[in-house]
């Protein structure tokens, strides 16, 4: 009886069949003009060239297969400044695999943050994170580019008040 009541509780619980929510801590979509500009920049410099490159690629490889769709999420509402005083916003790119086209509101088919990085709007530069380093977006397009300076995409540490 106790087991039955437990089962009933589980079945009729509000959370058991709850609709999947967006990923935990889902960032705000591009609503403000800066975020929209950043989204457009990442799309122009990374997503579109990547899709064009992948369309010509062999699918008979052990590398991850080309995705069916990608979307850019801007993670910061306001730009941060790095140690050099340059403003940037962080972004994440989600990927959708399979033959079926993405359905609005169905988050379950999206792989979150398959690419992360940051965009410098003033300089129109996009960097992607690889390991612990950031590299220009051209890296994902096959260019053998060096890692960016350590300050890239890192918010400047707030100045600590001297104790004495």
């Amino acid at each position: 009886m106790k087991r039955l009541s437990m089962l009933a509780l589980l079945l009729f619980s509000r959370t058991t069949f709850a609709e999947p929510t967006a990923a935990g801590g889902s960032p705000p979509d591009a609503k403000n003009p800066q975020a929209k500009t950043a989204q457009a920049l990442v799309s122009r410099d990374l997503i579109q060239p990547l899709a064009a490159k992948e369309s010509k690629r062999s699918r008979f490889s052990r590398a991850s297969l080309p995705v069916q769709a990608r979307r850019v999420r801007i993670l910061d509402e306001q730009p941060s400044k790095d140690a050099r005083g340059n403003a940037f916003v962080r972004f994440a790119v989600d990927a959708h695999h399979g033959f079926a086209a993405p359905v609005d509101g169905d988050e379950s088919r999206w792989q979150l943050a398959t690419i992360t990085g940051c965009a410098y709007l003033d300089r129109s530069q996009v960097f992607v994170k690889k390991g612990e380093e950031y590299r220009p977006a051209a890296f994902l397009l096959g260019k053998d580019v060096k890692a960016a300076a350590e300050t890239t995409c890192q918010p400047a540490q707030p100045q600590l008040a001297h104790a004495n």
Binding site: S58, F60, S64, H97, G98, F139, G142, D144
Partner: protein, 237 residues
Amino acid sequence: MRVRSWLLTALRVLVLVALAAGSAAITAASLAYFGEELAPFVIEKLPLPLEDVWMAALRIHVVAASVCLPGCLLLSLGIVVRRRRFHRWLGRVTAAAVLLALVPSGLYLSWFAKGGVPSTLGFMLSGAIVATAMVQGVRTARARRLVEHRRWVLHVLAQLSVAVTSRAMLFAFDAAAVDEQLAYLVSLWVPVIGSFGLVELLSNRPRNRTRTAPSTRRIHEAPVDARPAPVLSYDLR
């Protein structure tokens, strides 16, 4: 019975053609590792410790694979089996490529395989089967134990075919939007174990032809122990 035999022959031809096409497709895709631009597979792996060593291992592996799988497919053809001299030389080249290049480079690459430890173990198991079977294949050929030789070299071919079958499975899993890590592991382990099991199944299958009327044409299927040596001057030395 004749229909069954015809179906088996058709199936065998289909498998060989599919493997040859798959091998050609893999070789064509591997050309990207020799260009100036970084290939997607390389981009995924970076950063790596000893990047140059890994890159050299990858290039050795793909060049060796482009020789070994077509080599094994050729060696399995009746027309090549009957040309003993060519069969011996092609066998030597393939065995050397497998044991000196394909397996060692593959074992190094397996340490950095996608999917972590289970994936590394899967590639290592496949490499160990290939190396053991190839050594045994050479030994049994030299000893003229050709039925055993057939069994061992079939194991080599079966494990090399994993390169094709696992990629086909990855393609199917991607179409079905299966989780990438899971798909990678299943597409590795199922063909490795499945190919091994299939060869054992085929090798232990009772063969009517050898029991009743031994063929003089298909030396791989002949009951070698019952045959005088001069008829089969099949010597690797």
